[in-house]
């Protein structure tokens, strides 16, 4: 945190797990990480919206990243977390992830932009980061939060 200067060149990502795949979320868009809690279902909304939670007096919608990506439904475990994301000019929204692993700092040369077919719609990853031999798919939050 004290290296504000480096933030502009390097970016910090929170590494999360969904199934066996690791995803990275840019830390500057993350408002909070909370444990799984009771979610109030909202009727007549897309399936991936699990409902709303009370986050210190605020009503925050929660979506399942798994369902949004067309994966198996979430299995709630002790490790399950809700990551509250706040994009500029938007309200907060929570996404459910299987596990939060760590925070990594990626240098520019560790990030490889993905070239992908524009035709395909369900692309939620804009780049891949390389951390100690492992790969982290960096989430394109705008795509994740866009209504499908």
């Amino acid at each position: 945190m004290d290296e504000i200067k480096s933030v502009t060149e390097n970016a910090q990502f929170i590494v999360i797990k969904i199934g066996q795949e690791q995803f990275g979320i840019d830390i500057q868009h993350i408002d909070n990480i909370v444990r799984m809690q009771n979610i109030t279902r909202v009727p007549k909304v897309p399936e991936y919206f699990k409902g709303v939670i009370n986050l210190r007096g605020e009503i925050i919608p929660v979506m399942s990243l798994r369902l949004k990506m067309g994966l198996e439904p979430d299995v709630i475990t002790k490790a399950t977390r809700i990551i509250i994301i706040k994009l500029e000019q938007h309200e907060g929204i929570g996404i459910i992830v299987d596990e939060v692993k760590e925070v990594v700092t990626l240098e520019k040369d560790q990030i490889e932009k993905m070239s992908y077919d524009k035709e395909e719609k369900k692309i939620f990853v804009y780049a891949v980061g390389k951390v100690e031999g492992a790969l982290v798919s960096l989430l394109d939050l705008n795509a994740v939060l866009a209504d499908a």
């Binding site: 009771n38 109030t40 279902r41 909202v42 009727p43 007549k44 909304v45 897309p46 919206f49 409902g51 709303v52 939670i53 009370n54 007096g57 605020e58 009503i59 925050i60 919608p61 979506m63 309200e91 907060g92 929204i93 939060l145 209504d147």
Partner: protein, 696 residues
């Protein structure tokens, strides 16, 4: 000077002045001889000009300057108010409004010089054959001029009426070898904190002597109840030059002048001023200026206070950013939620501790009061919205060539600020509707034995937790047959359907998008965007619209709005494992219904409740919930009302009544029309709020 920080104040005040001008000019049209009105207009135009000048909006300043010139002539009796002049003035106001809205959007006044208008104004002046710009005009003209210009206000201090005690004090002071000076101080037009400047002047003066009298009074000056000038009578041993210098050391003082005064029983003889004065001006002019700039206490004959119908110019109020109020309201909401959780916690705990319960009850009453006060702070009279309507009706009357009069009552009725901001457009639509569709032309009215001049009424009043606004006209009323024909023509309804529809159903068709019965599409209405917009706007504010109409007699549109949007009393219900809140305002009764009492009509479930056939809605079906209830058991049915219609909502269980704070679901997830929001319960759980209106 960087003026951008004042932009908001400027916009607010300009709008106020423009509204004031609109109202006053309307009044002038009714009573062209009323000097109070003329003075008020002059004052408003003058303030507007000063403000525009300070902010650097030259075009706006020019236009107001010319308007002011015209009024100065009217006030001097040189020009009589005529109908065409009123029209021109209204056009000027429109142009000014144009400037203001352009400034609001782009913080630039735009490039429209409005030269034709300015020419028209000058024509009015020229028609008098007089020099349009009088010498004294320069004196009040823009800020930069004010410092150097000479003033016509010479010897203002002689106009101060001295009380006997003041005379005694002055005489005593004179006897002790003091000088008595009359001093007039003029603060720059651009000065924002006039009272503060005046205070500094007072402080500087009190170092050397004593202020005996001030006009306006010290209290008025502190409250900023003065224009740019104030006049003092001052006793000191120091020379006048020094005193004037001390005053001018205070910044933003445009001018200070003074003169020696004799002890009160003698008339003043010597006049001395601190600047190169043009003292040749007639005393008559000076009086006129005084009258304009020192409204509160001047003893001038032109100003008859008893006749002034206007409200006090300055209210003792504080301008608060609406966002700050929102924050306050949110905090109160949090407090209520916290209180609710305390209440539910105390219900779970062993409740033998009576002191604890007492405190909880005390807390409840405090939070309720707090909520009410904060709500009241957010309430504003609908006046700010409706007072533009007389002008609109006047214009409509000319455009449509119909005679009409608008009668308003209950302008002081208060509503939540957010509601007031939204209510203007729907009301405007309804009024235009009445003027265009409702009222007949003068000839038709005459033939029908009605007063040639149509009446439109706008009445607002509070009714319990609602505010009712009625727009009523004594026009033709809604021709149900015509509407029916039109609907069939357009294929909105089939002929068979039309046969079975009640008049009320047919009138309801008017609220459908793109439905207009006006045979001729006029400038005013008839584009069919009116009534459906009205309905959707009102419903977005959780209100409702009703129509009553009688052919040939007139129609009434009744708008019902909740007093506040943020916190409501609600009935909590349970369906399956989920909890929902239903606003108490829409609930009529709660019924216990046996399953066999449910009948089928057109394959819809209904119940017969004391002679009324009421459709029922199973919440479990509508919201995809699995009901926990045995279908054999009696059902709990909540009867809700929307306008004249009823519906029964079937729920599993009732939880009880609760004060709830409405929170938005946010735009990510607000797709479900049946849900109007969410609230946080005492135990921290979220419950959704059911929009009962959507179930009809």
């Amino acid at each position: 000077m960087d003026v951008s920080q004042y932009l908001e104040i400027f916009l607010d005040e300009s709008k106020e002045h423009l509204q004031n001008l609109n109202t006053q000019i309307l009044e002038l049209e009714q009573d062209s001889e009323n000097m109070d009105t003329v003075n008020e207009i002059f004052r408003a135009a003058h303030s507007l000009k000063g403000m525009a000048g300070t902010m650097g909006y030259k075009r706006m300043q020019n236009l107001t300057h010319d308007m002011e010139n015209v009024f100065s002539e009217v006030r001097n009796g040189a020009i009589k108010v005529r109908a065409n002049m009123i029209d021109i003035l209204f056009q000027c106001l429109d142009a000014l409004e144009g400037y203001v809205s352009s400034i609001q959007e782009t913080s630039d006044e735009g490039t429209n010089d409005n030269a034709p208008l300015i020419k028209l104004l000058n024509d009015i002046l020229d028609s008098k054959g007089k020099d349009p710009v009088e010498v004294k005009e320069k004196d009040q003209a823009p800020v930069e001029a004010a410092v150097a210009e000479s003033s016509a206000s010479t010897m203002r201090w002689n106009e101060i009426n001295l009380g006997s005690s003041e005379k005694v004090v002055l005489r005593a002071a004179k006897d002790k070898g003091n000088h008595i000076y009359g001093i007039t101080v003029r603060i720059q037009d651009s000065c924002i904190l006039k009272a503060a400047r005046a205070f500094l002047v007072f402080k500087a003066l009190e170092e050397h002597g004593e202020i005996i009298v001030s006009n306006p009074s010290v209290q008025d000056i502190e409250d900023e109840k003065f224009d740019q000038e104030f006049t003092l009578i001052y006793v000191t041993k120091v020379s006048l030059d020094e005193i004037l210098k001390a005053i001018k050391n205070v910044s933003e003082i445009a001018q200070a002048e003074g003169g020696m005064m004799e002890a009160p029983e003698v008339e003043s003889s010597t006049v001395y001023t601190g600047e190169e004065e043009d003292t040749t001006q007639s005393n008559q002019t000076a009086v006129a200026v005084t009258d304009m700039s020192v409204p509160s206490k001047s003893g001038s004959a032109q100003k008859d206070k008893k006749q002034t119908p206007a409200k006090p110019v300055v209210n003792r109020t504080v301008r608060v950013d609406i966002e700050k109020l929102d924050v306050l309201m949110n905090l109160v909401s949090e407090l209520i939620i916290a209180k609710n959780s305390l209440v539910s916690a105390s219900a779970v705990e062993d409740t033998t501790n009576s002191a604890f319960n007492e405190q909880i009850e005390y807390l409840e009453s405090v939070t309720t009061n707090l909520h009410e006060s904060v709500m009241k702070v957010r309430m504003v009279p609908i006046e700010s919205v409706v007072n533009k309507f007389p002008r609109m009706i006047r214009d409509l009357s000319k455009n449509l060539n119909k005679k009409m009069e608008l009668y308003m009552s209950g302008e002081e009725t208060e509503l939540d600020r957010t509601v007031v901001d939204e209510i203007g457009d729907p009301l405007m639509h309804l009024l235009r509707n009445s003027a265009d569709h409702g009222l007949e032309t003068a000839e038709v009215r005459k033939a029908r034995g009605k007063n040639e001049v149509g009446s439109i009424f706008l009445d607002a009043y509070q009714d319990g937790n609602n505010v009712i606004i009625e727009v009523r006209d004594d026009g033709n009323g809604i021709d149900v047959e015509a509407v029916k024909q039109k609907a069939i023509e357009r294929g909105t309804i089939s002929f068979d359907q039309a046969e079975n529809m009640t008049d009320k159903d047919i009138i309801d068709l008017l609220f459908l998008p793109s439905f207009s019965t006006a045979k001729v599409v006029s400038d005013v209405s008839g584009r069919g965007v009116g009534l459906d917009v009205v309905r959707s706007k009102i419903e977005a504010l959780s209100g409702e619209v009703e129509v009553k109409s009688k052919l040939g007699v007139g129609s009434t549109f009744v708008i019902r709005l909740p007093l506040t949007l943020a916190i409501i009393q609600a009935l909590m219900v349970v369906v399956g494992n989920e909890k929902y809140a239903i606003s108490l305002g829409s609930i009529q009764t709660i019924e216990d219904i046996r399953p066999e009492d449910i009948k089928q009509v057109q394959s819809k479930e209904v119940i017969n409740l004391r002679g009324n056939v009421i459709p029922i809605v199973r919440l479990s079906d509508v919201l995809d919930i699995e009901s926990n209830k045995n279908p054999e058991e009696n059902m709990v049915v909540v009867i809700v009302k929307k306008g004249e219609k009823f519906a029964g909502i079937v729920v599993d269980e009732l939880m009880g009544q609760q004060e709830i704070v409405i929170k938005s679901l946010g735009k990510y997830i607000n797709k479900c029309k049946k849900i109007s929001g969410a609230t946080i319960l005492g135990d921290g759980e979220v419950a959704l709020i059911l929009d009962a209106n959507s179930l009809f």
